[in-house]
Amino acid sequence: MAIFEILTYPDERLKQESALVEQFDAELHGFIADLEETMRAGPGGVGIAAPQVGRFQRIVIVDCSVTRKPVPNHGRLVLINPEVLTWDGMEVGREGCMSVPDYTGNVIRATQITLAAQDEQGQPLEFAFEGFEARAVQHELDHLDGLLFLDRLVSRRNDLFRRKVYQPKPTKAKKAE
């Protein structure tokens, strides 16, 4: 087991798009264990994405069972090659990121999403997430596309306006290219 060093912005590598995972082997499982240890080592972190530690593959871990105030959650999740299937609702919430120290900001996210992914063995998974957990999942998925919450900041003064024009990133369409 090991704790990885976290890449922090303005490291250009955080802007890079990650590749699909194709091999579900022991090496992958070892990496995931270390990635999780890295997430748990950071104070208050509920998610981590592989590119945050310099591995540009579509792997995220989310665990919203550890929040200060309890929120609806599915416990510890390893999501490989995740893909959002549906979005619903919009909500402003505050986010911070291990890759962006000493800064938090308001970001609009979908309040409900459904998601397809694979588990550590490559078996298909499907989930419906809401609220805080949906936010965490969307934040981590952004990392896989080279996006940070800084790319989605809104100010309180204009969030009502921005709410109307916001479009979620069309992940599906992009993969089909």
């Binding site: 509920v46 994405a49 929040t67 505050r94 986010e95 990121c97 936010r135 965490a136």
Partner: protein, 174 residues
């Protein structure tokens, strides 16, 4: 050595103020920190942390030509400050109602007593001249918990036809 100053500038709003002020500061060897700049009642207001290796007088000399040409009133304080000292808000409160003297004092007084540390407050007056409405948005830290604030807010706004909403902020770190 602490070389931070708080620079305040106020004057009639016109396009280009921020660009010209910050260019003068950059040319004068200043480093900019946190800032709040906004238009209030047709005036433009700037509150800006400026890092500068020199006296307040020397900084005044840097800023006075541009301040004079834009008719801005400058004010400079040497401050005990540092970057990376953020406090995280854990509650957002919005209050609105018919504009009436004393709303802000009453509401913020009750909230302060219930443990609210205000980190950020903006307010505005909308509606019409005949029927103005007051809207206030606060982000802060609830030192004695959200429930204490919620009941204080309810008491402070109950009688006056003021509407208030309190939303806990749980920052997501990922």
């Amino acid at each position: 050595m602490n070389d931070w100053y708080m620079l305040t500038l106020v004057g009639k709003d016109r396009p280009g103020i921020v660009a010209r002020v910050t260019a003068a500061l950059f040319d004068g060897g200043c480093n900019l920190g946190e800032a709040s700049m906004m238009r209030l009642g047709g005036n433009f207001t700037i509150m800006l942390m400026v890092q500068f290796q020199g006296s307040a007088q020397a900084l005044a000399a840097v800023i006075s030509p541009v301040a004079e040409s834009l008719a801005l009133h400058p004010h400079i304080d040497h401050i005990d400050a540092a970057l990376h000292q953020h406090l995280e808000p854990d509650v957002r409160i919005t209050v609105y109602g018919a504009d009436r003297a004393g709303i802000v004092a009453k509401v913020t007084g009750a909230l302060a007593e219930a443990g609210l540390h205000i980190l950020d407050l903006t307010s505005d007056v909308g509606g019409s001249s005949e029927r103005p409405i007051y809207v206030m948005s606060i982000e802060g830290h609830a030192a004695e918990g959200i429930e204490a604030l919620a009941s204080a807010l309810e008491v402070a706004t109950a009688a006056d036809g003021i509407s208030a909403q309190l939303t806990p902020i749980q920052t997501m770190y990922g």
